[in-house]
Symmetry: C2
Amino acid sequence: MPIPLPLVGDEPQERRDAARNRDALLVAADALIAEQGVDAVTMEAIAARAGVGKGTVFRRFESREGLMAALLNRSESAFQAAIISGPPPVGPGAEAMERLLAFGHARIALNLLHRRLIIAAGRAGTRNYATVSFTAMHVRYLLTELGVRGDLPFFATALLAPLEVPVLEQQVEIEDMQVNRIVEAWDDLVRRVVAG
Amino acid sequence: MPIPLPLVGDEPQERRDAARNRDALLVAADALIAEQGVDAVTMEAIAARAGVGKGTVFRRFESREGLMAALLNRSESAFQAAIISGPPPVGPGAEAMERLLAFGHARIALNLLHRRLIIAAGRAGTRNYATVSFTAMHVRYLLTELGVRGDLPFFATALLAPLEVPVLEQQVEIEDMQVNRIVEAWDDLVRRVVAG
DNA sequence: GCCTAAAACGGACCGTGGTCCGATTTTGTT
DNA sequence: AACAAAATCGGACCACGGTCCGTTTTAGGC
């Protein structure tokens, strides 16, 4: 009497064709984005390039935003890995303040690098629950280590907010701020919050 | 030899039918939004309700985002007026710190009140150059008055960033933060930045 | 009032994101 | 190997934002 229960994880295992098509779609999306830029790539083009129907794309990724989020997810996972188990100063081993500043610098660089993709991913991207809560949790943890008093969840969010793509884009593209300046000013902000 | 120069302002004066239709469209949009919510309202529905063709809507407001921004603009103008010439503590007359905190509280309330509209207005909305630069300029001015040292343009942006709709929405709707708590925590943040 | 140029109108048309459902493939069972 | 159920596939189809262009309205000089 075998009971077909998915004992661990709620992903019931992907069928072979499904997995193959998912990979093909990610590869196709990467290639097309590299060729024409994020904004010019349509879902139908991706489907065609991957040799599947449009319906398949939406079944796998829910929406355009979902697909973009899936692309982002890979670099985001690498970033999380670097934080959890990578070398200092981003990874463990450096003191908290050093780690916090290094984290911010990396976040800024990453957000600028992937800004088009992040915007295209919309609510499914950086605002995605998993990503947001991980980074917020990390910052909260570092603030705790630093002995900061006050509403730590809010402070974490407040320190992360000016690193969001729309804000960075406004500063870099419209107000002509140099990235260097943003980094230094953010460091100053962090020190003030920590100093209490 | 009369030269038809628009001496002041570059708006060459709207034709009568154009003005009439613009008003009708704003009224129609207001009504439909009140009835069905921002997200359910289509441009075609607005046009129909106003008794004009779809093309007219886009000629007047450029895009859906532009129309939403126009709706927002009215309350945004009132807010700016309150800052420039309204009663304290938001308007002039109170001391700088009091004004800054009052400004933040008002901004939070306004952003939450109009969040659907602000999201629908996208880049044309809060991220709109005029609005952003006005509020940033005001905060910068108050920070100057408070004798804050450092990169004031960045600090102004950094204090405004956590008040943006996506951030507020995340906190209120997903993390179940009370608005009161956000307000108090933001005040704390401001004091730390000002304290240097 | 009439005439003309400029401006605005409106709805047919297009592209793209997203849905639906009959056809096809996979998987496990016997 | 054959079969059946379940999952997937794929492309026709839909809705909505946005564009285009022939037609109509306005403004204002005579």
